[in-house]
Symmetry: C2
């Protein structure tokens, strides 16, 4: 045996050396089992931990593929016998002796199609029951699963699952495959070496421990599987450096998340050589397989089940009753992987950061409430002695009115239009900068804790759709083109790009059109209601119209949001991006633009355009030559902006985020349940305990984090963009997010299939979008303060025109005079005596020359002065706030001090470790080898050739073996 095995190892260059013999042995064993499996009764399944393990109860199921089977199982049995035939060929060839092995290996790739062909012919005879398409898919599966076995994976099929029509392929990755993949993925794993994480100064230490003691109840009760004061030194896993790692428990050295992501890596890498090469994505896309997912760790509901990470997460995280606690981010990452971990860490930090923001926001709002009685302009408006006669608000039916009737609005305006809002918008700009910085630091800290330093994002494999298009293209070019690898050029994509641009513009146009439509609705309704003879109706005109319009806007936004999401996805599919990453980025970009326009266009209209293009009495601007453009109520448009903002934000959050997110999954589940019930799914079978993989099959597949992030980014927009006009926005966002975190957690833990763990160092494009929103927020807030609010006119009046430096006389100063005899014909009011006295001069809000000046109704010097100051304020505000943000950015180091010290320390420790190791090599080897020798089956098996040497030689031989295995 020794000799032959050695020869086999020496002469087989087409397959991996080390796993060869064991792999093929296992292959045979596996297929032996495969046959046995059929004979097993369902009762015997129960003790294999409900489907978390193979039938032998030993090998963990790391991944599951499903495919449909026809219910009349006549065809199936033929098929499966054919399948066994193919596999038996391998077994047979093995039985013919080791010499054949090599030959077989060389022919392995070639033999497979031949076998398939043979099976094809065989099927051709019996195969009336199978459509040719089904047939095709089966061959793909055969090929794919064969290749997976070649890569060292072990498969087990379960066709007799309790869900009829679905066959499950369970995949297990044995230890040597895991080692190989860990090396290829350059995974950093904790070594045996432990070091102490020192706290910095002594004073800081005390404060730190005090704070942590106070915050103790806020921490979730998950065991600190990673003690806080000690950290394992990590090192890239390598089979040559096995002695560094604690391999005493090989089953748990790589946890379930890591194992499933390794299997997924192999699945992605493995390609069927069909017309074009098909990876797992293409196979899923073309329906060869229907689903591919890793398994959850266990059940959440039953009390009897022993504790598992999923249950722990469900209890300590995905639970509304722990809403006040920190999230167990480490555990989330351990279970779901870094990408999802980062999302929840980000969401958590954002929610945390909203606490101070909403506190300050509430204080600012309260300041507004408290100071409303000291506000001179509103006092002047409300004072009955100030009997200023205002020009009519609409043509014809409206009459002159007293300014004092606008008292209520003026007082309400003050709540949102006071000096504190200026402070608040500066505060929020800096808050945004701080948030960014904190996130960068948080991210660095997590990267360090999760051993991601040095990890570089790898470019993805091409998407299935892309490869399909490339294949199509090369097929159409066919003969004349050289046989080189094609790719999609700009020319190929031109139609898609054109469609994209046109559709995007169209969609934005639709948004604008709808906003304009709502404006028209508002104007016309107002005009109609003014005509109404009912005085109560007329009194409530303003409020009715505003509220109705805002609600219409909200409904439109909600509907368009869904439409735009679908359109963006459709457009991105049209583009055929090459990789998943590029697909995601393009999709996000488009969705963001569309949803952003959708959410903010009506608000921007109210903030910056409404009431600007009104004209003046005597020459108003008209839309469609009959409707006067809308004005803002006295006291600026800020009040209306605030109403619109709060309705949009609250409505969106309540309806879209919570109602939709809770309701729709429940609805879908119900539908699926009903459908599966209709689909001859026996209720009594359901009563029986479902296998883990069957239970997971009933869950929703994971659809990516994009919608979750998008929701939060739009919310971030509401919180920062117009914060000058609505200081309560952070509070509402905070309340929403406290629910949102647990809602999302519940979804991930209980309602979705377990996502494949993806490594990620950062939140990617979202960070840039956040930065962009924060930047735009500075500019928009500058404009809101200087143009929408009355802050600047008040300042200008106080410091330039006020006779006594106070605000007295401000209201009078902002109102221009109009001689009623200058009204255009037919536009004058029909009820000039409404106020009880004849009016000669009425007032309107604008800076214009009085009728008696040399240039009547011209824009006055005050207008230009106020405009100049407004613009100057914008420049100063924008640049000062940006500078301050940059300073914040610059002052707060991106890498927390303690982390950078720790990284430095780890580097030194590693160099020390290696230097020492070089000295004590042999000594160490002796120990580590002795301890792991018993468990290293694979290595000791192929090492039999050495067993006749001396002990020293065997030792070196052992080492030789582990070296070879990379």
């Amino acid at each position: 045996m020794t000799e032959e095995a050695e020869v086999a190892e020496d002469l087989t260059p087409t397959s991996e050396s080390e796993q060869q013999a064991p792999h093929f042995l296992q292959d045979v064993i596996f297929h032996g089992k495969f046959k046995l499996l059929k004979a097993l009764t369902p009762q015997e399944n129960s003790h294999s931990q409900h489907g978390l393990f193979f039938q032998d109860g030993q090998r963990h199921v790391d991944y599951v593929l499903t495919y449909p089977v026809k219910k009349p199982s006549g065809g199936r049995s033929i098929r499966s016998s054919a399948h066994l035939l193919t596999k038996n060929a391998v077994a047979r060839s093995l039985r013919r002796g080791p010499k054949r092995l090599e030959e077989h290996l060389k022919n392995h790739q070639a033999q497979k199609p031949r076998d398939s062909q043979a099976a094809d012919v065989e099927l051709g005879l019996h195969g009336e029951t199978l459509s040719s398409q089904e047939d095709h898919k089966m061959f793909r599966r055969e090929e794919f699963e064969g290749k997976l076995s070649d890569m060292g994976l072990e498969l087990e099929k379960d066709e007799d699952a309790k869900i009829p029509g679905v066959c499950f392929v369970k995949i297990h990755a044995p230890w040597n495959v895991l080692c190989r993949e860990a090396e290829l993925m350059k995974l950093k794993m904790p070594t045996k070496k432990v070091y102490e994480v020192k706290q910095s100064g002594s004073v800081m230490e005390k404060i730190g421990s005090l704070v942590s003691k106070v915050l103790e109840p806020l921490h979730p009760q998950v065991e600190d599987y990673q003690s806080r004061n000690f950290k394992h030194l990590s090192h890239t896993f390598s089979r040559e450096k096995k002695h560094l790692f604690d391999l005493s428990d090989k089953d748990y050295f790589f946890d379930s998340r890591t194992r499933s992501s390794m299997v997924y890596e192999i699945l992605k890498r493995t390609k069927c050589k069909a017309k074009y090469s098909m990876g797992i994505t293409s196979l899923l896309g073309s329906g060869v397989y229907t689903a591919a997912y890793p398994l959850h760790d266990g059940d959440i509901i039953e009390d009897s089940a022993e504790s598992n990470d999923r249950k722990l997460l469900y209890e300590e995280w995905a639970n509304y009753s722990v809403f006040y606690k920190y999230q167990p981010i480490g555990l989330v990452r351990k279970y779901f992987g870094e990408k999802i971990g980062l999302y929840f860490a980000w969401l958590g930090l954002y929610t945390q950061m909203l606490i101070p923001a909403s506190l300050v926001g509430v204080i600012v709002f309260l300041y507004g409430c408290a100071s409303v009685d000291d506000n001179i302009p509103s006092m002047e408006i409300c004072h009955p002695k100030n009997n200023i006669t205002m020009c009519p608000l609409c043509d014809g039916v409206c009459s002159y009115w007293k300014l004092s009737t606008a008292c209520g609005t003026a007082r309400a305006s003050h709540l949102f239009d006071n000096p504190a809002t200026v402070f608040f918008s500066i505060f929020m700009a800096l808050w945004a900068a701080m948030f960014m910085e904190h996130w960068k630091r948080r991210q660095m800290r997590l990267n360090h804790e999760w051993d991601l330093t040095g990890f570089e994002d790898e470019e993805d494999h091409p998407r299935a759709e892309y490869e399909f298009r490339v294949m199509q293209k090369s097929l159409s070019k066919d003969k004349k083109s050289r046989h080189k690898r094609e790719k999609l050029t700009c020319q190929d994509r031109l139609p898609a790009y054109m469609t994209n641009i046109v559709m995007m513009l169209l969609m934005i146009g639709v948004t604008f059109a709808i906003v304009f439509g709502v404006i028209l609705f508002r104007i016309s309704t107002k005009a109609a209601l003014h005509l109404s003879s009912n005085p109560t109706t007329r009194n409530h005109v303003q409020l009715t119209v505003k509220t109705t319009a805002a609600i219409i806007n909200l409904v439109v936004i909600l509907i368009l949001d869904e439409v735009y999401g679908a359109v963006a996805r459709w457009l991105t599919v049209l583009e055929v991006p090459k990789t998943d990453k590029s697909f995601e980025e393009r999709l996000i970009f488009k969705t963001f633009i569309l949803k952003f326009f959708n959410a903010f266009t009506p608000i921007i209209y109210i903030a910056f355009f409404r009431g600007r293009l009104v004209g003046r009495p005597g020459s108003y601007l008209y839309v469609f030559e009959s409707y006067r453009m809308e004005e803002c109520a006295h006291g600026g448009c800020l009040m209306e902006l605030c109403i619109q903002l709060s309705i949009t934000m609250l409505g969106k959050q309540l309806i879209q985020n919570n109602l939709f997110e809770i309701g729709i999954p429940k609805l879908k589940k119900l539908i699926r349940y009903i459908r599966s019930k209709r689909g001859a799914f026996q209720e009594e079978e359901r009563q029986k305990k479902l296998q883990r993989y069957e239970a997971d099959h009933f869950l929703e597949p994971f659809a990516g984090l994009t919608p979750e992030y998008m929701e939060m980014i739009i919310q971030f927009g509401f919180v920062t963009l117009f914060v000058a006009s609505f200081p309560l926005a952070p509070l509402f966002a905070l309340l929403n997010n406290i629910i949102e975190i647990r809602l999302d957690a519940k979804k991930f833990v209980a309602e979705l299939r377990r996502p494949v763990a993806a490594r990620a160092k950062d939140i990617g494009i979202w960070y840039n979008i956040l930065r962009g929103v924060a930047k735009v927020a500075v500019i928009i807030n500058a404009f809101v303060i200087s143009f929408t609010s009355d802050f600047i006119p008040r300042m200008v009046y106080q410091y330039m025109y006020s006779p006594d430096g106070s605000m007295h006389g401000f209201v009078n100063h902002t109102l221009s005079y109009f001689n009623v005899s200058h009204f255009q014909e037919g536009k004058e009011t029909m009820d000039p005596m409404h106020l009880g006295y004849p009016v000669e001069i009425c007032r309107y809000k604008d800076y214009r020359e009085p009728p008696w000046s040399t240039t009547p109704y011209e824009i006055s010097k005050e207008f230009w002065a106020v405009l100049a100051v407004r613009l100057a304020f914008v420049i100063v505000f924008q640049n000062v706030v940006m500078l301050m943000s940059d300073v914040v950015d610059w002052l707060i180091p991106d890498i927390p001090k303690d982390i950078s010290l720790q990284i430095h320390k780890e580097k030194i420790l590693l160099v020390d470790l290696f230097m020492k190791e070089e000295q004590g090599k042999i000594h160490n080897n002796l120990e580590s080898k002795a301890s792991t020798e018993g468990k290293e089956n694979c290595s000791s098996r192929s090492n039999n050739n050495n067993n006749s040497s001396t002990t020293a030689h065997q030792r070196s031989g052992l080492h030789n073996n582990s070296t070879k295995s990379l």
Copy 2:
């Protein structure tokens, strides 16, 4: 022997396992040679390639340390005999048999001080000739060199060098040390695997090849040591993966740059345990060693010498005659390392990018020249019929003047103040963004070419000064403090920080004061010159004063630049930063702030403050109650800004960059030459061929890239910040840089000692500074266009006030009226009839109400309108240009497409390679072992214990050995 050697390997845990035996053998051999060396005559040195190799002509000198020796060599001989004694102890102990070796090793660390003590006693007897300080230094050296030998380095001393008073310690790193360091530094080395770098599309390919054919003569004639179409796959060097690399020529596998940087790494890591631990920096700082440098590759001057990289660089790069060619960046990096390579690559790209900028600048300037005759405002000023009487320019002595006398200035102003400058400043803002993006791409490309992907900046070792301060602190605390590692807290640094802030403010204050002084000079001189009776003097007043003031400014800037450089360094030393990197960053930050203020304060004054605070006729503003604030000439201040800018920029470049940079090194060399001549340095000895290490000792040490970068950043400031007023700046910068590149190259190749190659992925903090300057440039240009130039008033006039939409009447519109009877008493002109007619109304440039309005001399409505438009322009310009820059940033991918494809391809190739390798492991091992077996002395030597086994066993044993060596 076999057995004993094995025992020795097993039981010596204090030193590196593999190099132990050979190292000690070599040690003995070396010290044998050391003795032999003394006996060698100088004639025998000549064939060892002039000092590039050890005396044996085999081992390459990778690094040189020098220390001073007393000229009366009486003390020396005693010392060196003592030294030999110590070393002989080792040799003796070795001679006593291998059993002693182990024991000796255990005592090695302990023995050294004992030996030293013994030597100390010995010296105490004879040692009146040596001061105790000299003595101390000698012990440090002993200890340090001993530790270096422990680390595996080989040393050779040359005390009989031709430079008296200097002893050279030559250091050679043997192969196994190089391998170890390469592993620790995670160096990526080219593997044997070669792959083809594919050109993208076929059309692009043709264009590319055409372009490269056209550009062929522009490429420097250095052999393409890295063929363009093929690239070696790189992989982190590891002794376990030796078979991947082409180790056929071990002497050149690591080039001289890499070897010297490895030795430097070891030098930095090795610490003397003195009162506080001293690395090489502390030893250099405390004068234990006087210099530490790697050697240049060879001579540049002589024709006979065979080609070496230095000579090639001198001919093809550091040469004014090749100014039009690309730089051989690959070779520069190969010789000087990545950090310097990046500097020159950056400088090259910057210069290249200046070409389009200066082209457009010249075109804009020419447009100004061409359109000067069509310019209506200057035509109106020059037209003799427009006899506008202007108010006097100074009190008393000046009289009324005709506007037409300002004709020349007005025409000249137009050259720099025309609509094209607006276009040009937008262009330059985008140019800056493009430059940044191009640099990012260039950097990525170089990172890939230089195999730096995945390299992470390591934190440096603490600086000597820092460790000294920490030691002082812990000594002063001494007893009461626990024995934990101290560090400098904020409290320790508080005085330094305070000094820093105060000094920085003071220095900036000095700058402001000087600018103010120059203003006063200008005002008073002008007043004095106006008093002069000489009419020619009076006519040239403006020009004289302006030029003189600008020259004074220039001189002050030049002087302060040097002062500020010194101050910044002093302040940074005070701060005691922890690492070299932090030292550099702090120094750069301070130097940048000071130099920036120094260079730009006078310019900013002229651009934004001059002529703004003048007051109006009848109520001028006075400085010190007697001098009127200066006004700009008619036509805006842009002209003066332009003069100031050009004088400062040209003067700074000509005098500082070129004169100083060429002159000062020459001067220093001369001084050193004279001094060494005075210092009893025999001319005849100089005539003899100097050893390489002696020749290099005469060169200037390398002082970092900071001054080079700083010069360029300030220039970048001149090119971008005020480009709206001086479109020729890019041209001047271009001309300067073409010289600058070659000047710097000459300096690096011929006048400086070879710097230790430092790895770097990017240009670090400079990139951020560049970004900052580019950002500030946008804002400053916006203000220059809208406030300094007359662009906005012209626009406003044309579109708001002009009766016929043309510029006719603009001049009249900008001039306000003044009734001469309103002059303050004593301020009216003494010569009212100067123009030959009595003046009642004179005109001045401002927007104010005429004397006959209800509010005479008040700021007019036009002023506010123009101001509002100016501010609006600033907002629009700033945001549009910033948005465009961001779009440019976003559109141009940071990683060039071909590079990202190549990276992806390399990853796939690597996975393939490893997968294949795993299969063909044994086969490969056989081959690679056979080929390298002959050369691997160190490994085969310690492998003798296996020589009685079978071939197969020996093979595995060999492998075992190479595994052990990490």
